[in-house]
């Protein structure tokens, strides 16, 4: 190729490269700027604020060093909120996992109306947590004799139960657990369905030829191991979602005067500390940093334990 043509070609390639870079920033730039402005700057500001006494102000004034961290970690209410999360997580993660997998297996086997049942189980995902929590609180699990659950109990001669106010036994967990199960199971069912549909049919045929019985044996040795990647992702998402629980707790248990000391997850605790009338933004920021670290550690440990991202052998 003559040198002039080569130079023209190189110039054209350089121009195309520059154009590509320009268009990359045109499309990505606004979102990156938004992310930086509305997520990373407040995050950084929150970390700074956590080292200051900041009552009713977001302007750091009195430096307290690790004072807010000492206060938050020695506060029994904050520690109890982490326990609440642990209890909630222990209930909701396995329950959602098992139920969504069972639904996916059931729907996957259907020979007719599969799309209908898939939609029926998925539809609650579209409902707002706030609305669902209010339906559960006002209609199904209210504590008077004409609430739906109490009406059913009444048919068997049982006394009405104050579902959300009874701590011994802690019936409020039933209300909190069922509303979240109803809301999120459909979503995870879809993930499992996608996983199930990726398992080659030939695998089952080969297993059948080798004498594997359909049912539990096939599920135990073929289906479940083949769903490993989906299962790990679902478990991880469930734990992170459990940590972020706020809406249903707040709407089921709070009233105009506050929130009971039981079943107070970390985000509700931080909401009242930093954004409630207390407006202790330094302490709230320290709590947010601690919570973020806890989530990060749990996620990393869980990911390593379950082998997330490890190359399939």
């Amino acid at each position: 190729m003559p040198p002039a043509a080569l130079r023209r070609r190189l110039l054209a390639t350089g121009r195309r490269q520059r154009n590509r870079t320009l268009w990359f920033w045109v499309f990505v730039g606004p979102f990156a700027a938004g992310l930086a402005l509305f997520t990373y700057v407040p995050l950084g500001w929150s970390v700074v604020l956590s080292f200051f006494d900041a009552h009713n102000t977001v302007t750091p004034r009195d430096f307290t060093g690790l004072g807010n961290y000492r206060r938050i970690l020695s506060d029994p209410e904050f520690r109890s909120s982490l326990t609440t999360f642990a209890v909630f997580s222990a209930i909701i993660v396995p329950a959602t996992f098992a139920l969504s997998l069972a639904l996916a297996l059931a729907v996957n086997r259907l020979r007719w109306a599969q799309a209908f049942f898939r939609s029926v189980f998925f539809l609650p995902t579209a409902c707002s947590y706030v609305v669902a929590a209010l339906v559960w609180k006002m209609s199904i699990f209210n504590g008077v004799r004409f609430g739906l659950a109490n009406t059913v109990l009444g048919w068997f001669g049982a006394e009405p139960v104050a579902w959300l106010a009874t701590t011994h036994p802690p019936w409020y967990w039933l209300v909190i657990g069922t509303v979240r199960l109803w809301l999120q199971t459909g979503f995870y069912m879809i993930l499992f369905l996608a996983g199930l549909q990726r398992i080659p049919v030939g695998l089952y045929e080969a297993a059948a030829l080798d004498g594997a019985r359909p049912g539990w044996q096939t599920f135990r040795y073929i289906t479940f191991p083949a769903l490993r990647a989906t299962s790990v992702a679902v478990a991880l998402l469930l734990v992170i979602n459990a940590f972020q629980a706020f809406d249903e707790f707040f709407n089921l248990l709070s009233d105009a005067r506050g929130y009971p000391p039981y079943a107070r997850p970390p985000l509700v605790y931080l909401y009242y500390t930093a954004l409630g009338q207390g407006q202790d933004l330094g302490l709230g920021s320290a709590g947010a940093v601690v919570l973020a670290l806890v989530i990060a550690v749990v996620t990393v440990v869980q990911a390593r334990w379950s082998g997330l991202g490890r190359r399939e052998e």
Binding site: N56, H168, R257, L275
Partner: protein, 419 residues
């Protein structure tokens, strides 16, 4: 002209830019007139009574010196105002269930002392005291809200129970009035932890914080009284899990409970449904040093220190909540029922001269108590949590109160340092 991909993207980008510009120009910042020579912005929380919103808009429209735009804000109003006060985009004037001591110490509200220069003594002193710090007044009480024990006369007569005059009698009456269809008493869906607050302490002759700024409930009498509230729960005399909470009289009107703790604002709805079959009482006294207790409180009009129009805002507050006595009377008495903040107006009010309203008015004057300013949010939350554990979990009242005493002492030391 053919539409190429590049042309389409350019057109889309142009439209988006134009849209963003238009949105930025016309966005609702919460301030009247978009901050360019507009009037004052005045925030109210959403009242339950019909007609209140129209009334406050009418008052604002009647102010001729400057345009006042009213924002009627449903939802968590206290959180909304607390967040708005941190930025310059909040209201000029706002009503507040306070202001809190931290809002005052944080310089978030404007000193309004001079607005009440000549009429301070005409305001109910029990509700003016928590608006006062360092001898300065930080909020102008709008109306006085009070809470009472409502009871159904016919149900008490049928059960042979007399209206309770002591806490022991209340516990006994609630138990005897409870049957399969009706509970004896409704103190809110949390069993009373939230709404009662410090009222049982006052009933025991104590207070959350004393006048000289020390803890007022480090006393065995406090634990004894709170144990009796637990008794109500243990006896299954309390209505729990009602569709509407204590502030709404639905449970009482529908016959789910024979007695209910609620606000005076509910009286018109109750008398409309039950006629004369209703009586009111203060929270009954407990123990030898005890006395009947009636909580009183007031939403106040405050001026944001971030307002760019502080003097105009103060002038408007003076006009509405000090000078316009007709509007104040209308606001207190025409929608639901509240006590006018000015004693001279309360004395003139026909609606407060007979029946349960007259009794409520008398109880508020004789036994009224308001939460002291030094009873900070952190102390209140710690106490409320303790009360909830005592009532529902049967936790030891003495141990629970000791922890609250420690929190309150730490809070008092903190605010003393800031003052």
């Amino acid at each position: 002209m053919p539409i190429t991909r590049r042309r389409l993207l350019a057109a889309g980008g142009g439209l988006a830019l134009a849209g963003a510009t238009a949105a930025a120009c016309g966005s609702n910042t919460g301030r009247a007139g978009g901050g360019s020579g507009g009037g004052l912005s005045h925030w109210y929380h959403q009242y339950g009574e019909a007609g209140t919103e129209q009334a406050v808009r009418r008052y604002a429209a009647a102010y001729k010196k400057t345009r006042v735009s009213v924002q009627w804000r449903p939802g968590n109003y206290d959180q909304q105002t607390a967040a708005a006060l941190l930025s310059g985009s909040g209201p000029d004037v706002f009503e507040v269930n306070g202001p809190t001591l931290d809002q005052i110490l944080g310089g978030q509200v404007v000193d309004l002392t001079d607005l009440l220069k000549d009429v301070k003594d005409d305001f109910q002193q029990a509700v003016l005291a928590p608006k006062t710090h360092g001898g300065r007044i930080w909020g102008i009480p709008q109306t006085v809200d009070t809470q009472l024990l409502y009871y159904r006369r016919s149900l008490l007569d049928k059960a042979g129970v007399r209206p309770p005059r002591s806490l022991d009698e209340l516990v006994d009456a609630a138990r005897r009035l409870t049957d399969r269809r009706t509970k004896g008493l409704f103190l809110g869906n949390d069993g009373g932890a939230g709404v009662l607050g410090a009222t049982p302490l006052y009933a025991a002759g104590l207070s959350p914080v004393t006048a000289d700024g020390t803890v007022g409930f480090d006393d065995p009498a406090a634990a004894r009284t709170l144990a009796k509230i637990r008794r109500l729960y243990e006896d299954k005399s309390l209505l729990l899990g009602a569709p509407a909470d204590w502030s709404d009289p639905s449970a009482f009107v529908q016959g789910l409970t024979a007695m209910q703790w609620s606000g005076l604002w509910a009286l018109p709805q109750i008398t409309k449904a039950l006629g004369d079959d209703v009586g009111v009482l203060p929270f009954p006294a407990d123990g030898p040093a005890g006395k009947p207790a009636v909580p009183v409180g007031a939403y106040a009009a405050a001026v944001s220190a971030r307002s760019g129009r502080k003097e105009e805002a103060k002038e408007y507050v003076r006009w509405l909540w000090v000078e316009q006595t007709g509007f104040q009377q209308d606001f207190a008495l025409s929608y639901g029922l509240h006590l006018p903040a000015r004693t001279s107006l309360a004395r003139k009010a026909d609606r407060l001269r007979q029946g349960p309203a007259a009794e409520a008015s008398r109880f508020a004057a004789e036994h009224g108590h308001a939460d002291p300013l030094l009873w900070t949010v952190a102390s209140k939350v710690a106490y409320q949590d303790a009360l909830s554990r005592i009532i529902k979990d049967g936790a030891d009242p003495e141990g629970q109160l000791k922890a609250v005493v420690r929190t309150t002492e730490a809070e008092l030391a903190r605010v003393r340092k800031r003052s």
